[in-house]
Assembly symmetry: C2
């Protein structure tokens, strides 16, 4: 079955292609009766214009590209789900790419997507991204750029982020209120803004409660994965570092750490209270279930797409955007890894 096209509609209705097209694109200069007639017929036969053909004139593809640094990752997946959901509402297509934490891959994807004439690129950069030329390139090509979660501060574009510093503060404060005084922090890599912010939030909380900051309690987890949690926990024991709490950069890291500590018969939450980050799907079924920070991934995805729509409409009107960074609130979810009465630390 060959597809119905504009000229078929025109012929059937004894109108010109121009008129049909005007109706479809909501041009005002069409007689309202004609408009009705066209609309009705179009609906009846289920016609939709071939977008690839439209593109040739409009240069709009109704397609955006989404670049994720990691695929097997609950939070990024939620963002993806949010973008897909919102994009579909507006009949946009979403091309997906995964940079796999490699800047080279990221560059390749961007150039491929630009070549594909996407209307916008929505992305979280990799851990390693420390050059910006490929990001600026997007804007030079006249395409819109929206960044989320892992952003580059220096690039001027809409950004949707979590208030990581506040979230980390909440997580750490929760541990303090549960009586922890020797709180470990398994942080992320040094350069990403989100791991810096979480680290700062951790320090903010210590400061507020007059708990001395001890650099020997901070361990770096480059990839925020489970193995790093496990091996850094091991290091903590090997070094004989005292602790009664742990704030980890991700639930996966928290789980790895809990596993090691439990293997050494350390009681959780009695001897060690733990807070993770991101509310992974698995965390509530862990034993004990993991207290964590819930990040609104779906909402972030929706907002990312809406930021693009907004930017596009501003640009069309020739307006300059302002206040382009949106911080989404996160929420502490209290579970069993911190379920204890306020108490004096047991290991002190």
């Amino acid at each position: 079955m060959s597809k119905i096209k504009l000229s078929d509609i025109a012929a059937a209705l004894k109108l010109s292609k121009a008129t049909i097209s005007k109706v479809l694109n909501s041009y005002p200069d069409v007689n309202s009766k004609t408009r009705e007639r066209v609309l009705q017929y179009v609906k009846k036969v289920g016609f939709e214009p071939d977008r690839n053909a439209s593109y040739l004139r409009t240069k709009e593809t109704n397609t955006v590209a989404l670049i994720l640094p990691e695929m097997n990752h609950d939070f990024f997946n939620s963002v993806l789900a949010g973008v897909l959901k919102r994009a579909q509402q507006s009949k946009y297509n979403v091309l997906v790419g995964c940079s796999q934490g490699s800047v080279e891959e990221e560059k390749k994807l961007i150039s491929q997507f630009l070549n594909q004439n996407v209307d916008a690129i929505l992305m979280a950069v990799t851990q390693q991204t420390n050059e910006f030329k490929h990001l600026e390139e997007v804007q030079k090509e006249g395409k819109l750029l929206v960044m989320f979660d892992k952003i580059e501060k220096i690039i001027d574009c809409p950004k949707i982020i979590i208030d990581d510093r506040k979230a980390a503060f909440d997580a750490t404060e929760h541990l303090i209120l549960k009586g922890c005084k020797k709180i470990l922090h398994f942080r992320g890599a040094y350069s990403p803004q989100i791991s810096i912010d979480r680290y700062l939030g951790y320090r903010d909380a210590l400061e507020k409660y007059d708990i001395p900051f001890d650099t020997s309690r901070v361990f770096v987890c480059e990839n925020a994965d489970g193995n790093e949690g496990y091996y850094n926990a091991k290091k903590v024991l090997d070094l004989g570092i005292e602790f009664d709490g742990l704030f980890a950069i991700s639930d996966l890291t928290a789980a790895g750490a809990i596993k090691l500590f439990k293997e050494h018969n350390i009681k959780i939450p009695e001897e060690l209270a733990v807070v993770g980050f991101s509310n992974w799907r698995f965390s509530q079924f862990y034993f004990p279930s993991i207290t964590t920070i819930d990040q609104p991934g779906i909402t972030m995805g929706v907002k990312v797409f809406e930021a693009f729509l907004n930017e596009k409409s501003l640009k069309k009107q020739g307006l300059e955007p302002e206040n382009r960074t949106l911080k989404l609130p996160s929420k502490l979810i209290v579970r069993d890894t911190t379920a204890r009465e306020v108490q004096k630390s047991l290991t002190s």
Copy 2:
């Protein structure tokens, strides 16, 4: 910067657009010196033809659509990663859609993608999919269809699946060899082929070792999620059903069950050995780490895309394809939930 186009190349090289195009599309009837000259220049200026424009003549978009029934799902994410990886190698674009377990959504996505003129639709159907018209529609429109994991047997198209029956057999046999005689099965919904096959594999193993099948040990988990694992485990205890082993439809379900059993001080693996399915990223960091079946998600994604390429090339040559179902092997990963010496069941 306005994009360079075919006519620019032609002008610069004092050749016709036709010749340039022929070189780019590997037509044989071009002088080899001319070809070299064009290729070199094209490379130098980094020209790539505008694919949306090409489409108008070729009707090929170099874009495939991938439909997943669920987004926050380790296995489907791995498949997605595999498809993305392989597609990029062949310079294909991947549009992603998520049906969220809804047949209606699945239909919408398919019609949107068809309208977008994708070259193929690669998909796993939803749990609920029990009509096929929208699937057949894909083929009627002349687009290629490839199914994976959650397939419809009745549709004639390339299918990439895991040998679920064998995998479930392996899982159950492993429990039996660890001394289990009263093995619970937390199965998936009734209609999906994969949950039927896993159920059959479970029964195959019981039969091989002359262990009577007891229907009261089988519980249905519609969504194979953690809550269902938790509440079915509760049901097991409430009903006073005896057990010494559990084979669960997914790691998430296994985790939910383990949590409930541990809350009731049942020792794992001593009193209850557990095998999950899919090797979720979290499973190795669970305490105890979860024995599971590793499904080659990335490989499946790669194979799915290659099945499409293969189908496309066969179609071009006018050949009929045969033997279109590919079964990928899975692997038992032994971890702590079954780490015990062979022993008599303790609860007997």
